[in-house]
């Protein structure tokens, strides 16, 4: 049953992601990326990660992409011809070849996946009993306490970096 939802959502995610790099107009690219985010959010729902799914839409599709669109419109970014119209076909082919190799490698990996993953402690029954959001909160403050705190320093660095680079001299 899951396949009925998984396949169209995955195809949508891949297709819109391809449009992000193939379309000419940066605004269309940004809108295609919004589509990718929605498709991903659907995949998260399928995995019963409701919180992550909602956050994906609110933060990425909502806040970040709106900001992207503002920047694109304010800067009036020019229309670049897509890569296949530029005269570097050898590189494009090389890139596509490498992508095909990677896809093949992954296909082999998943095909020969004899031990189908490891059953972790977070089964859907357990997640539903505790509550999706509650469980994430608990994990962040217990098992992943230190990575969580490290992230705050990383965000600080990002802010400082943006300030340094954006400030007038």
């Amino acid at each position: 049953m899951e396949w009925l939802l998984f396949v169209p959502l995955a195809a949508l995610a891949l297709g819109t992601a391809a449009f992000v790099i193939l379309l000419r107009n940066p605004i269309y690219c940004a809108l295609a990326l919004v589509g990718t985010f929605f498709a991903l959010s659907g995949l998260y729902l399928l995995l019963q990660a409701e919180f992550v799914a909602v956050v994906q839409v609110i933060i990425y599709a909502g806040a970040i992409m709106v900001l992207f669109l503002f920047v694109i419109m304010l800067l009036d970014v020019g229309h670049e011809p897509p890569p296949w119209l530029r005269r570097d076909r050898p590189r494009l082919l090389l890139g596509l070849g490498l992508v095909a190799l990677l896809v093949l490698e992954l296909a082999v990996a998943i095909g020969s996946w004899i031990a189908p993953g490891i059953r972790g402690p977070y089964t859907s029954d357990y997640v539903n009993a505790v509550g999706n959001t509650q469980l994430i909160g608990r994990l962040l403050f217990t098992e992943f306490l230190i990575p969580f705190e490290i992230t705050s320093i990383i965000l600080l660095i990002a802010i400082v970096g943006a300030m340094v680079l954006a400030r007038r001299q």
Binding site: W113, I118, R138, P147, M163, Q169
Partner: protein, 484 residues
């Protein structure tokens, strides 16, 4: 449901805290210091690094794990902290007069240097792939900004943008690798991965692909061929003090993490990962050295040389086991000293903001600046791997580890490469002593702090070249957990 907060063991974090607080203090201090007193900020950075070194020495020998193995305290982590602190101290000394004294961004510069040092420490001490990734991001984010620090210079902007785009690309490979490893083993904690693999069942393809993707991510960071494309442009465009920091620091951190992941957590897969790394090592050594032959810009030459050195270090990784890991640690110290020393000379020789970047600029300096030129010659000898320098000892240990691990062909290729490299390392030296300068440049007094950095590096290069025993012993203790 009530939440029981985990008890935090502070010992594994103790050496990081001074660096983290130093970074914060540099930011805040900048606000309150009057324009003439900005020299206080680098001094503060040096003090926090010195404190971190003292803590590391005090903790030597302790083994502890923090919450859920996120950060590990062992001799390997502490040894790496000392290397990073050395790199960071020398880089701060280099920067003190290189940055315009009246530049408004002093606080941010030094705080980013300290935060990237913190990122390196997390990479070396991460007991969880997620923490190693976060350390990598912390290091990289700070470096992206530092590369673009000279906003008015186009090359600096280009360096920052290139590094950001390719760095983000590399990070996504790394994350993908972590995700696949999590899928295959059910954990990202290194100790649990070891336990999972201990029962001797054949590794699933999923795990192997994950490991391969992780290797690609690391390959970008250590600038190994074919993931080296960004290196020359970024190292050339970034401000010289930042290039020095990156060339020594990023490599040290990435190799510390490589040893922790590949030699400590995944030794059971060595049969599988040693073959691709063998290929990477040969390509990296050879291409780095051959392309360095034709470089005229000294920063670009050192960038290709750093690629070649990544190749030598990969040889040690293939050799594996305790000898391989020991020689990696020893080489990282030697590598940091000789590279930072060479960059310190470049900065000390600059005249009125005019850097001597082309090899021809060094003509005739041998007699006009005898001491600095002699030091430059020493660092170049060391980079080429000639005795009696630390670089020679480092290469000796790497190649003997390769022979011990029955990789004779790698040792031979490595030695041949070193012979090739002698040509381009000695070219600046020859130019300094044999050529007449085309134009007379006025002699300008050098920055005192940069001279200190030159002196420290020269001392270290000679010390570990003549008496390598003690450092080698420390390195051997640091990887004792590996056995063998």
């Amino acid at each position: 449901m009530d939440l029981v907060l985990p008890r935090i063991d502070w010992a594994p974090l103790a050496a990081m805290l001074p660096v983290a607080f130093g970074g914060l203090a540099a930011l805040v201090g900048d606000l309150f210091l009057p324009a003439g007193r900005k020299r206080f900020i680098p001094a503060l950075g040096l003090a926090s690094l010195a404190l971190s070194i003292l803590v590391s020495i005090g903790l030597w020998g302790t083994v502890r794990f923090s919450v859920n193995d996120a950060v590990v305290l062992d001799r390997f982590a502490l040894f790496s902290y000392l290397v990073f602190a050395l790199v960071s101290i020398l880089s701060i000394l280099l920067s003190m007069d290189y940055l315009d004294a009246s530049a408004p961004d002093q606080g941010e510069y030094y705080s980013l240097v300290l935060f990237s040092t913190l990122g390196m420490m997390l990479m070396a001490a991460g007991g969880d792939l997620i923490v190693i990734f976060l350390g990598l991001e912390m290091l990289s984010l700070a470096l992206y900004t530092l590369c673009g620090f000279r906003k008015a210079e186009l090359r600096s902007n280009e360096a920052a943008l290139k590094y950001l785009l390719l760095g983000a690309f590399a990070s996504s490979f790394f994350l993908y690798g972590i995700a696949l490893i999590y899928g295959a083993t059910g954990t990202t904690v290194l100790r649990r991965i070891v336990a999972f693999l201990a029962d001797g069942r054949p590794p699933s393809t999923l795990l192997l692909v994950g490991t391969g993707l992780l290797l690609v991510g690391f390959g970008f960071k250590v600038a190994s061929v074919p993931f080296h494309m960004w290196t020359p442009d970024v190292y050339e465009g970034a401000p010289t003090s930042v290039t020095a920091f990156m060339i020594a620091g990023t490599k040290a951190a990435a190799f510390a993490a490589l040893v922790r992941v590949f030699l400590m957590a995944l030794p059971t897969l060595q049969v599988q990962w040693s073959a691709p790394i063998w290929v990477l090592a040969v390509l990296t050594m050879t291409l780095g050295n051959l392309v360095a032959l034709v470089q005229n810009n000294i920063k670009r030459m050192l960038a290709y040389s750093s690629i070649a050195h990544a190749g030598y270090l990969l040889v040690a990784l293939v050799a594996g086991g305790s000898p391989g890991a020991t020689s990696i640690l020893f080489y990282l110290v030697a590598y940091a000293l000789m590279n930072l020393g060479a960059f310190a000379v470049i900065i000390a020789l600059q005249a009125r903001g005019q850097e001597l970047l082309s090899v021809a600029d060094y003509a005739g300096l041998g007699f006009r600046r005898p001491v600095l030129s002699a030091c430059m010659a020493l660092f170049m000898f060391s980079l080429a791997g000639l005795p009696p320098t630390a670089g020679f000892m480092g290469k000796l240990f790497i190649f003997s580890a390769a022979v011990e691990g029955h990789y004779h062909e790698l040792a031979v290729i490595g030695v041949l490469n070193s012979v090739v490299s002698v040509y381009f390392y000695l070219r600046p030296v020859v130019v300094m002593y044999m050529n007449e300068p085309a134009i007379e440049r006025p002699l300008v007094p050098s920055s005192a702090a940069a001279i200190w950095a030159v002196a420290l590096s020269a001392l270290g290069t000679l010390q570990f070249g003549l008496f390598p025993g003690r450092l080698l012993d420390l390195a051997r203790q640091s990887v004792a957990a590996l056995g063998g």
